[in-house]
């Protein structure tokens, strides 16, 4: 999967905007949106919010979790725990990038938020690498990780699967004929 595909999926998330135009309810395949009245908040998917923002037709309100204090808490928890804590949002990385690139003037303290989200990301990716490393070194057959987001999974997916395949080939080649590979050396 491409990171751009993951971002595309993230654009389906709902965000609140304040439009400056009026429009009746619109009926789309994915659901109904609206009605839009100037000055009244309305919930729309991120793709529509960004389009309207670029055409200067709305103001985007930051999501609940995009707040400096809340993100600091999440970061502290993430650093304390060994396993993954629930992320602020299943698409926190993509939403941060999209919203801060296009609507940073509507989001207070955008620079700090960017730094905090990057810190959270770095911590989680480090944990993911550690976990993958121990999985391989202990030659486990399966592992279960909770609270991973699609973007994080996507980062390691191709490399992890590819290298596991390689190692399987190496192991099966080193012990021809036997069905269970027992040697710990690789």
């Amino acid at each position: 999967m491409d990171p751009t595909e993951v971002e595309f999926l993230a654009e389906k998330e709902i965000v609140k905007i304040i439009p400056n135009f009026s429009l009746d309810k619109i009926y789309l395949i994915g659901g109904d949106l609206g009605p839009f009245n100037p000055g009244l908040p309305v919930q729309v998917p991120v793709w529509l919010a960004l389009n309207l923002k670029q055409r200067q037709k709305c103001r985007i309100l930051p999501p609940q979790w995009m707040d400096v204090d809340k993100l600091e808490e999440v970061r502290e928890m993430e650093r304390k725990e060994d396993s993954f804590t629930p992320p602020p949002s299943p698409y926190y990385m993509e939403l941060t990038k999209l919203l801060l690139n296009h609507a940073s003037d509507n989001i207070p303290k955008a620079d700090e938020i960017r730094t905090l989200v990057k810190d959270i990301w770095d911590t989680r990716i480090a944990k993911l690498r550690l976990s993958a490393d121990s999985f391989i070194s202990q030659q486990e057959a399966h592992a279960k990780l909770d609270n991973l987001t699609l973007m994080e999974i996507n980062t390691t997916r191709s490399f992890l699967l590819g290298s596991l395949n390689c190692m399987f080939k190496l192991r099966s080649n080193m012990q021809p004929g036997t069905s269970t590979g027992k040697g710990p050396d690789y």
């Binding site: 400056n20 055409r55 200067q56 037709k57 801060l100 940073s104 003037d105 989001i107 207070p108 303290k109 955008a110 620079d111």
Partner: protein, 562 residues
């Protein structure tokens, strides 16, 4: 006709149509175009953008697009000629003209159906009233009607009737001749001087403001358009200051909208600030020393082409306490201690040396930690890019010059080379006395072998050189009469075709109203000598001429103006 409500009569009309945008190639038009493009993008209006460099270009572009488009928007072109006569459009083509060139042609003003001028009616226009110029032709029909009526009367009565009719006819003809003479005079006075009005980007920005779709990017482009008029000396200082005050209101409005104590804006957002900054061109992207040497104001005041001037400059620097090593370094690397109070220190010292106006009101922008630009920096960079003579330039993508940071830095480098070339040419012209007084005006011809002469085959660069040269000449000559003369400059344009580009600028004075009479003068001189000339530029004071016709053209000009 003048458009009174720009939103209803222009924007609401074109919002559902396909529009052809014809844009002149100067910075102000470019900025106005960018603001208009941003508005069109917001409202998803389909448009075609065509840059035009002169009247011929405009004609060809119009012919190409007249089948597909009904609405044409012209930016910085087309107001000062009879557009309908020149283009011969169909009856349903409508033109929206936003142009700084004045005087606006009277036909354009009084045409109600096809020509809409996006110009404020009080923008220093002085248009003659309708009755003074146009006259109904019904009176002619009355005369001939009377005569034929008189023919059916019996002979005796007819004779008496005829006498009365003849007298009245003679009276009418005399009145008509008088009226025509007055009309010619009024038109001559009105069209004699060419000057510039409010910048086009300001007008389009105000449209965006009325639609409440204005944002900081548009504001910055409007500021650049206004600064372009000042850098190329197209408007008076008074007008510049007034327009800056208008812009300052918009800037404060935008700054207050977003800034807050707690919720400060991301550092990457663009911030525009009002600056009362030094009149040293590009000084923040260059070294202070280079900037002082190559800026018109300081160079002409110190007379830096002479040894005396160089000594004075050294004195000036010593007076301010700036070590030479620091001053020759890139500005960014100068000591922080020196940079902190630089503006005040320079202002104090320059007052002592007779430069009272070293500081000028302008705007600066910064985004990110690294990028800081003054409006005049961007104008010089964009002008250098637009008129670059280097071979690897791509012609079409002009709109990129203003927004792309890499291109901006490239433009600044080109602008530095251009300024150095101008400075050296001025120095050599003054030292070798290349400026000759021809009686009613000063004249200077750049020979073909002059270094960087290719740079000066472009109108904007040549204009800058001309203005600089005139200021330098005025400060270096002792002849009082020569100080009040205008300057005509000629430079080789195309060596194979044997053409020169000729440019005339009005005399240099602090209170000059920048009104240029050379447009009409060039036309008449070219006609009377039947020189092969091309009056293609939107500024009528710039023409192209064949090299062989140069001398007789000049003689005609001298006789015309004396």
């Amino acid at each position: 006709m003048f458009v009174t409500d720009i939103r209803k009569e222009f924007y609401d009309v074109v919002i559902n149509q396909r529009v052809a945008l014809l844009v002149a190639t100067d910075i102000d038009a470019l900025c106005a175009c960018k603001v208009l493009q941003a508005l069109f993008h917001c409202d998803q209006v389909q448009y075609t953008l065509v840059p035009v460099t002169g009247w011929q270009d405009l004609g060809t572009a119009f012919l190409e697009h007249k089948e597909q488009f009904r609405y044409f928007v012209l930016l910085n072109c087309g107001a000062n000629v009879d557009l309908l006569e020149m283009l011969q459009p169909d009856d349903d083509s409508i033109f929206f003209i936003c142009d700084t060139h004045r005087p606006v042609d009277v036909v354009n003003v009084y045409n109600d159906s096809q020509i809409k001028l996006l110009i404020k009616q009080d923008d220093d226009l002085g248009v003659p009233s309708y009755d003074d110029i146009f006259r109904d032709e019904d009176e002619e029909a009355d005369d001939s009607g009377n005569e034929s009526d008189g023919g059916s009367e019996p002979a005796g009565k007819r004779k008496r009737y005829d006498e009365g009719a003849v007298e009245r006819r003679i009276e009418r003809q005399r009145a008509k001749r008088e009226w025509e003479a007055r009309r010619r005079e009024i038109l001559f006075d009105y069209e004699q001087y060419e000057y510039h009005g409010t910048s086009a980007s300001l007008v389009i920005f105000e449209l965006a403001w009325v639609l409440t779709k204005d944002n900081k990017d548009m504001l910055w482009w409007a500021v650049i358009g206004l600064t372009d008029q000042w850098v190329h000396d197209k408007i008076t200082h008074m007008k510049y200051v007034t327009d800056i005050a208008t812009m300052q209101r918009h800037v404060s409005r935008h700054n207050h909208r977003n800034e807050d104590e707690d919720n400060s804006l991301s550092i990457d957002c663009m911030r525009i600030s009002f600056e009362y900054d030094l009149r040293l061109t590009l000084y923040q992207h260059w070294s202070l020393f280079e900037s002082i040497c190559n800026s018109t104001y300081t160079s002409c005041n110190f007379k830096l082409w002479s040894l005396n001037g160089q000594k004075k400059l050294q004195e000036f620097l010593a007076d301010m306490g700036l070590p030479l090593k620091q001053v020759r370094q890139k500005f960014h690397s100068m000591d922080m201690v020196i940079k902190e109070n630089l503006r005040e220190v320079i202002e104090e010292s320059s007052n002592k040396y007779g430069m009272k106006d070293i500081r000028i009101q302008t705007f600066g922008v910064h985004f990110g930690f690294k990028n800081r630009f003054l409006a005049s920096d961007v104008v010089h960079a964009a002008a250098a890019l637009l008129e670059s003579t280097e071979k690897d330039e791509s012609a079409g993508d002009h709109s990129d010059h203003l927004s792309n940071l890499e291109r901006l830095h490239l433009g600044i480098d080109l602008a530095k080379k251009k300024l150095i070339a101008i400075q050296q040419t001025v120095a050599s012209c003054i030292c070798t006395n290349l400026i000759l007084s021809q009686g009613p005006f000063l004249y200077c011809y750049l020979m073909e072998g002059t270094p960087d002469v290719r740079l000066f085959s472009k109108p904007m660069a040549l204009t800058l050189l001309c203005k600089y040269l005139l200021k330098a000449f005025v400060s270096s000559t002792r002849n009082k009469r020569c100080k009040l003369l205008p300057l005509v400059m000629a430079a080789p344009l195309d060596v194979e075709k044997g053409t020169v580009i000729v440019l005339g600028i009005p005399p240099d004075s602090d209170t000059s109203d920048k009104k240029n009479f050379f447009g009409r003068a060039f036309e008449k001189a070219a006609e009377s000598t039947s020189s092969r000339s091309l009056h293609d530029h939107f500024d009528t004071s710039i023409i192209e001429l064949k090299m062989e016709d140069r001398t007789k053209f000049l003689d005609a000009l001298i006789t015309l103006l004396s």
